[in-house]
Amino acid sequence: MAEFPGDLKYAESHEWARLEADGTITVGITDHAQESLGDVVFVELPEVGTELDAKAEAGVVESVKAASDIYAPVSGTVTAVNSKLEDEPETVNESPYDDGWFFKLQPKDVGELDSLLSADEYETVCENEEDH
């Protein structure tokens, strides 16, 4: 079963967002997302300095099954990317919430986090998806 850590916020498009102590927001894809994608083989990350609107395309994850766009859960400027994923894309499968993070954003308005889903709400979204 997929994990849904309670301290994260979630987008319906299957990204998670974590507010760090320094005010940045770390973004990755959820355990549910990596499970349904299967083995990740390539990750395309945004460039540092890119300004992204909430729900804008931020990158692509290619798995054995499909190519999926990654969206910014909130608006902000990319301050760091996880370059480890270029050589070790399997990290996304192995550690979706820690070592498998995608990028960090300096948010435009940290309040946008409140519009994202809680762990419970997101879990419900996933369950409904599986019913279809």
């Binding site: 299967g38 390539f42 395309e44 290619e62 190519a67």
Partner: protein
């Protein structure tokens, strides 16, 4: 709920992700498709392919009937147990299905293994074509098929057999088979590795699966089976070929025997052989980042010259490979459009991988 093979409960027990495959509930992977792929290339894996359709053809006209039905020539099967791969064509030379035919004790008995998605169509077609021949065509739903594939596969299968079975297995070369008790052991597969396909009574299959997996044989899902066959340059029916194309347009000209051989579709193939096939199925390699996938368009300059029929990330080569059907005249530098962006690719002659090693060669063209 779809149809289930006798191994279904063991797939679920092993944590398989189950998907619908041609009306059957089949395992796509058991956790990591890539690890399953590597297991077959480097050691050994087992794949449940019991969803495939086994058809026995027997009777005094069996040989004559199959020479009529198939583009490859069963007259080549000059000894018990020999096998060959053949397309089955319609009158227009279009491919209805591809299959393996095994010869039985005499040339009055053969076994066909055909695809599951084409089962109904195939059985109807075979029945209709057989009306003028003295043959009995019988589907064997009582049988299961376990594909044990990989460099260490023979050792694991031997461990299941008595001395008689071991000597029969050791006597086999690729594309031959032998009976042992109520099993058929065949040196065939869909991976490009050494391997055995065991065709056995369905009720015996779960115990064999348990013994092999307990001995360290990795369960392999249909996901890895697909990347294994693609690396091996083998076509998937319904994806790389169908009724709209001939064997000459599908990189399987080697399966067509026109000399001294009349069969359904032969007239059309003789014409096309003279005129030349309008399209070719070929291999593509992309060594940069990204994954080639089915239906991506292929370009020569700004001209679309075809599309990818099967594409994947090759776990053995660590880059993407594909089969593509291109206009025969397509030459020069090729590129694939991926989400609106052109990516250069190299045309190669499949297979891409055999026995764990890269084997592809650049195609010599224009």
């Amino acid at each position: 709920m779809g149809q289930r093979t006798p191994i279904y409960p063991l797939h679920v027990e092993a944590g398989a992700k189950m998907v619908d495959f041609g009306g059957w509930d089949m395992p796509i992977h058991y956790g990591s498709q890539i690890e399953e792929h590597h297991a077959v290339r480097r050691d050994v894996g087992i794949c449940d392919v019991s969803h495939m359709t086994v058809v026995d053809v027997a009777g005094k006209d069996a040989r004559a009937f199959l020479r009529h039905l198939l583009a490859n020539d069963v007259a080549r099967l000059d000894a018990k147990g020999k096998a060959l791969y053949s397309p089955m064509l319609n009158e227009a030379g279009g491919i209805l299905d591809d299959l393996i035919v095994y010869r039985g004790e005499t040339d009055a008995s053969y076994r066909l293994v055909v695809n599951c998605a084409t089962r109904d169509k195939d059985l109807k077609w075979i029945a209709a074509q057989s009306s003028a021949f003295d043959v009995e065509v019988k589907e064997r739903q009582d049988l299961a098929i376990l594909a044990v594939q990989g460099p260490n596969s023979l050792e694991h299968v031997k461990a299941l057999l008595d001395a008689d079975g071991v000597s029969r297995l050791e006597g086999l070369v690729p594309f031959t088979s032998a009976d042992w008790q109520d099993w058929m052991l065949a040196r065939t597969g869909y991976t490009g590795e050494v391997g055995i396909e065991i065709i056995l009574p369905g009720e015996a299959a779960p115990a064999v699966w348990r013994r092999l997996t307990a001995a360290g044989v990795a369960p392999v899902g249909l996901g890895a089976r697909d990347t294994l066959r693609l690396e091996a340059g083998m076509n998937l029916y319904g994806q790389d070929m169908d009724e709209t194309v001939t064997p000459y347009e599908s990189n399987i000209a080697f399966t067509v025997v026109l000399d001294d051989h009349e069969f359904v579709g032969a007239t059309r193939l003789r014409e096309q052989k003279v005129a030349g096939a309008p399209r070719r199925l070929t291999g593509l390699v992309m060594t940069t980042r990204g994954v080639l996938r089915a239906h991506y368009p292929v370009f020569a300059g700004d001209q679309q010259v075809g599309e990818i029929t099967s594409g994947a990330f090759s776990p053995t080569l660590s880059h993407s490979i594909a089969l593509a059907r291109l206009d025969q005249g397509a030459t020069g530098d090729l590129a694939v459009s991926i989400r609106g962006k052109m990516h250069p690719v190299i045309e190669v002659r499949p297979p891409f991988v055999r026995n764990g090693k890269q084997v592809y060669k650049p195609a010599r063209r224009g």
